[in-house]
């Protein structure tokens, strides 16, 4: 037990003496949170738009006023005709044009139907889609307020239930927790173990009465503690700076985070037992863990829009299950009865990975 304590103390020395490790451990969560919170946004703001409105009657004026009043759009002005939109797009003056059909108000009054065409610059398809949805939503609100529900036929579909302001930071924080835990736990542990191999100190550790389990647990324990500190930091920062809610049970959330930490740590040990250099361990961790965590977990890209083969592959990405769980807790505020299956999957994965990593950790050099 005394030798184990000495080992853990030594690990903490390693961490606190290497400013790069410290930077990754404590700087990165903050930097990433700020980046994702401010820079990487799906929501739109101050989009330049123009109107094409040959009649300029009381209805179109009201609709235009609504659009102008929203913070999403910045109205540049009027275009003489639809033909001018193309050039305005090309010159980058506007991103969207709203075209009212000629004689809008009178057509609405006589036929009960009037057309509005929303033309967007779809060079960036995601933004274009959002712009369309926002515009349609503004028009729909107008229709509801002024005309009753049947007068204008504009069907808007929106899914804003758990994130009514469509704040992307709400979506990113859970993903960010997954990403950072993967990075800290898997990447850092695999590096710290392979570093001992590279330095040759692993040879001495092996030729000592320390049992492999002591070496593994001793290596992992500091990262276990520190990554838990990270989770709490992210949650507090997200709450204070970005007003991201935790609607469900906080202890449950932390417990699920601990489960995911264990899972990531086991992955890190597994990687390190298979690689002999820090470089290999880094490459494998980055390509094999971080990429799937970012791309295939539903963090940024919805899984439902992936090809079937990739969708199947996402099942083995631990972050996917973790994301479902913590989004449920944080944003939907629901309890374990809704995601016990996902928790079970994650626990099962962790168990398998732990067994595999404990087995592949060798008591000798080969």
């Amino acid at each position: 037990m005394k030798s184990f304590r000495g080992f853990v103390i030594k690990e903490f020395f390693h961490i606190f003496r290497d400013y790069r490790t410290l930077l990754i451990l404590f700087g990165m969560p903050v930097i990433q949170l700020v980046l994702f919170g401010y820079a990487v946004r799906n929501e739109i703001q101050d989009i330049n738009i123009a109107f094409v409105d040959s009649t300029n009657d009381h209805v179109t004026r009201q609709i235009k006023e609504r659009i102008r009043a929203s913070s999403y759009f910045n109205v540049i002005g009027q275009l003489p005709s639809e033909r001018d939109i193309r050039e305005a797009f090309q010159r980058g003056l506007i991103k969207e044009a709203v075209v009212f059909e000629p004689g809008f108000a009178s057509r609405l009054a006589h036929d009960g139907v009037a057309d509005i065409r929303i033309v967007t610059d779809a060079t960036d398809p995601n933004t274009a889609k959002s712009m369309q949805a926002y515009t349609a939503s503004i028009i729909a609100h107008y229709q509801r307020d002024h005309l009753g529900s049947t007068a204008l036929r504009i069907v808007t579909e929106s899914r804003m239930r758990f994130n009514p302001e469509l704040k992307s930071v709400n979506l990113f924080v859970p993903g960010l927790i997954a990403l950072i835990l993967m990075l800290v736990c898997a990447l850092m542990t695999s590096i710290t173990i392979t570093r001992e191999k590279e330095l040759g100190t692993m040879e001495v550790l092996l030729v000592s009465p320390l049992k492999p389990i002591h070496i593994i647990v001793g290596k992992v324990l500091p990262y276990f503690v520190l990554s838990f500190v990270n989770v709490v930091t992210i949650l507090v920062l997200a709450r204070l700076v970005f007003d991201v809610p935790v609607r469900g049970s906080v202890p449950l959330l932390l417990a699920e985070c601990l489960l995911f930490i264990l899972c990531a740590l086991s992955l890190g040990i597994l990687i390190s037992s298979r690689s002999n250099s820090q470089q290999t361990a880094t490459m494998v961790s980055l390509a094999g863990l971080l990429l799937p965590t970012v791309i295939l977990s539903g963090f940024i890209f919805p899984i439902s829009s992936m090809p079937v083969a990739l969708q199947l592959f996402t099942h083995i990405v631990p972050a996917k299950w973790f994301l479902i769980i913590i989004r449920d807790i944080m944003l939907k505020g629901i309890g374990i009865e809704y995601f016990w299956k996902e928790t079970l999957v994650l626990a099962g994965m962790t168990l398998i990975l732990m067994t595999a990593s404990a087995r592949s950790f060798k008591t000798r050099l080969e």
């Binding site: 005394k2 000495g6 020395f13 290497d18 330095l199 100190t201 092996l206 030729v207 000592s208 000798r364």
Partner: protein, 305 residues
Amino acid sequence: MSANASVVATELSKAFKATRALADVSFSVERGELFGFIGPDGSGKTTLFRILTTLLVPDAGEAFVDGLHVVRDYRELRKRIGYMPGRFSLYQDLTVAENLSFFASVFGTTVEENYDLIRDIYVQIEPFRDRKAGKLSGGMKQKLALSCALIHRPTVLLLDEPTTGVDAVSRREFWDMLLRLKSAGISILVSTPYMDEARLCDRVGLIQNGTLMQVDTPANIENSFDRPLFGITAQDRYRLLTTLRGYPFANSVYAFGESVHYTDRRNEVEPSMLVDFLQKSGLTDVAVRPIGAGVEDAFMALMDE
């Protein structure tokens, strides 16, 4: 197996994929003996040490260290051996004192408990006890690594090329320490590429291509060299070497520092005959003198056979 044997190896063999690292290596080391392994890089010294330190399992043969089987009893054995791998395995970001107390704690002991054993070595690096190990010179790293390997009072010490990359003065000091440890009753196995260090061992094993070619005392190994040996110098050493290699009677020609060590095929050779030949070949400042063979000469001769 002698009752007093500290290390006994019987027909150890080990291969890595297609590469043969060790072939039928057998030897024994007495308790309190300083045993050296001499051989070029890649001759199998490190593989042998790793088998003896329980880090590798031999493909065939078996070995006992301190009476314990290196494969079956590896757990118990690991408490008793001190091992210094080829690279000084220290934590660069820990200080001298932290490294030492870490290794002490790993072996379930304390620095104070065994301080008497390492005192002679440790006092030399103690002034730098708060310096990071990564900032030490090669010689100091080596002393620290040795202190770390000794801190749990091992019965057998295995040192894999401990003096490689260390300056001559530190090498000398290091060997003085080994001799002192030997007198404290610790069996020491040490490998080295330096032939001059071989003379300081009780016995040496010459190892090449995974085969142990000869095990004997340094004196006996030198005596086993039965041909007349000449040390030859001349103004242009490179031309001297090529000229001698072109000489029809030449048996062996090796550059040894400033001079060239030479043996002849003929049984009766006088230095004057060689001087004559070399001067005719256009070499100046030629000097030829008969010399006694060193371990390295014997080793070179064995390698040629």
